[in-house]
Subunit: 234 residues, 2 copies
C-alpha cells in the first residue's frame, strides 16, 4: 500500500524501448499514473497493456509520443540518443512552458556504429544540453537515470539498490524529479550539479557498460558519505 | 599485524602534495615500504619524517622525485595535472622498461584557472594517456585513485569505504595495482576497462567535487552488483 497520495503522473516518451518500459513498470508499481508513449499509437497501447499485465492494478495508458507529451507536466525522454533530436523536433508543437523533461539519453558511440564503452562528443556538451536547446522556451530539462540498467528495471523481482545522479540548473526541478524517482524502491537520487554536469554523468553509462562487460553483471553506481536527507526543503 | 608478506614497495612521485601524502600514510600503515618523492629532496625527507611520525613503525624514506622513481618498480604519480607533463619530462632518463606507473592525474579546469567541477580536454584523450605517451617505451601506465579524497586518506581515523576504478590495457598490470591498493583498508579496486576509459574515470573526480560542494562532504564512488572476487587469477 502507498504511504500517501499518488506520485505525480508522468509520461514516458519512448516507453516501448528497454529503458522506457522498465521505468514504466517500476513507476506503475510505485502507484504512479503512467502514460506510455511510442512513435506508433498502436504500439503504445500494446506496451501499456503489457505493463498493466505485469503490474496488476496499475495505471498505465498508451498513446503516441505527441499525445503522451501533452498529457503530463512531467515527461521522461527514453529514446536512444540517435533518435533524440528527431523525437524532440516532432514534439516541438506539443511541448508547453512549465513542463519538465527528464532526459536519459546517453551519446554512446554505438549510435554511430562505434563501441558502447565510448561516447561521441555532442556539440552542446551533452545530450541533455542538446535537449535543453531543442525544447521550446519555458520547458526545463533535467538529466537523470543514465546508469540504471534497463534489464534490472524490467525484472521486477530484481531488488534495485543504487543511486541516480541528477543534473539540472534549478534545485526545485531536480527535487521534483527526485520525488518521482525515489518512489521506486531501491533508487536514490543524488544532486550531481548543474545541467552541464550531464556530460560527465552521461559518460558514466559507458563506464558501467565497460564494468559490466568485465564482470558479466549489471553494475550500478552508489555515492558514499552522503547525508540522510538528500533533498532538504530550502 | 599483517596477514602475510609485505606488499610490493612503492615510490610516490609528489608525496608532499595532499593526495600523495595521504596515500603515503595509508600505504605505510598497510605495511608497504614507501619512498616519498618530492621535487626537493629536503622536502621529501621532511614528508617522510611526518609520515613516520603519523604511522609508527612504518617504512617511509624521502628522496627527490628522480631518485624515488629509480627506487621502485611500482610508481604512483600524484602531482597536479598542470605539473604532470613537466614531471614526466624530468623523469624520462630515470624511468626504465618494466616499471609500472600509476597515474592519478585529473585534468580539472582548475589547472588553467577554470572550475574544479569542469575538466579540460587532453589531446591524447585523458591525463593517463598523456602519461603513457610521455613515459619511455616499456613503462606501462595504469590509471587509478582519482576519486578517493586526499583529506580522507590523510585522516587516518577516517574509515574509508569506497571503490577505486582502475583503467589499463593489461589485466596483469591492473591486478598488480589492485593488490597494492587493496591493502588499504576500505578501498576496493574495480576493473573499469582499458586505459582509454581513464577519460571517463578522470572526469568522475569533477563529478565528486560537484557532489561534495552540494552536500559538504567527501563523497566516494561505489559500484554495485559486482562479484566477490574482482581480480581472479586467469
Amino acid at each position: 500500500m502507498l504511504d500517501g497520495a499518488l506520485p505525480e503522473p508522468v509520461s514516458i516518451i519512448g516507453a516501448s524501448g528497454a529503458l522506457g518500459f522498465g521505468l514504466a513498470l517500476r513507476l506503475a508499481r510505485a502507484g504512479c499514473a503512467v502514460t506510455a508513449g511510442s512513435r506508433d499509437a498502436q504500439r503504445a497501447e500494446e506496451t501499456a497493456k503489457r505493463a498493466r499485465e505485469a503490474v496488476p492494478g496499475s495505471l498505465v495508458a498508451g498513446f503516441s509520443n505527441e499525445e503522451a507529451a501533452a498529457r503530463s507536466e512531467l515527461l521522461i525522454l527514453c529514446v536512444p540518443f540517435r533518435n533524440q533530436s528527431e523525437t524532440l523536433h516532432n514534439l516541438r508543437d506539443v511541448l508547453r512552458p512549465g513542463q519538465l523533461l527528464v532526459d536519459c539519453s546517453v551519446p554512446l558511440a554505438a549510435a554511430v556504429g562505434g563501441k558502447a564503452v565510448r561516447t561521441v562528443g555532442v556539440w552542446q556538451g551533452s545530450a541533455a544540453q542538446q535537449a535543453q536547446e531543442m525544447v521550446p522556451e519555458g520547458v526545463t530539462v533535467v538529466s537523470a537515470l543514465h546508469t540504471v540498467s534497463a534489464a534490472s528495471l524490467r525484472d521486477l523481482d530484481h531488488e534495485l539498490d543504487e543511486d541516480v545522479l541528477v543534473c539540472g540548473d534549478k534545485r526545485a526541478d531536480k527535487r521534483r524529479v527526485a520525488a518521482l524517482v525515489d518512489t521506486i524502491d531501491g533508487l536514490r537520487c543524488v544532486d550531481a550539479g548543474r545541467l552541464e554536469m550531464a556530460r560527465i554523468v552521461e559518460s558514466t553509462t559507458a563506464l558501467m557498460i565497460s564494468v559490466n562487460a568485465r564482470y558479466k553483471t549489471r553494475a550500478g553506481v552508489k555515492i558514499t558519505a552522503l547525508p540522510d536527507d538528500l533533498w532538504p526543503a530550502t
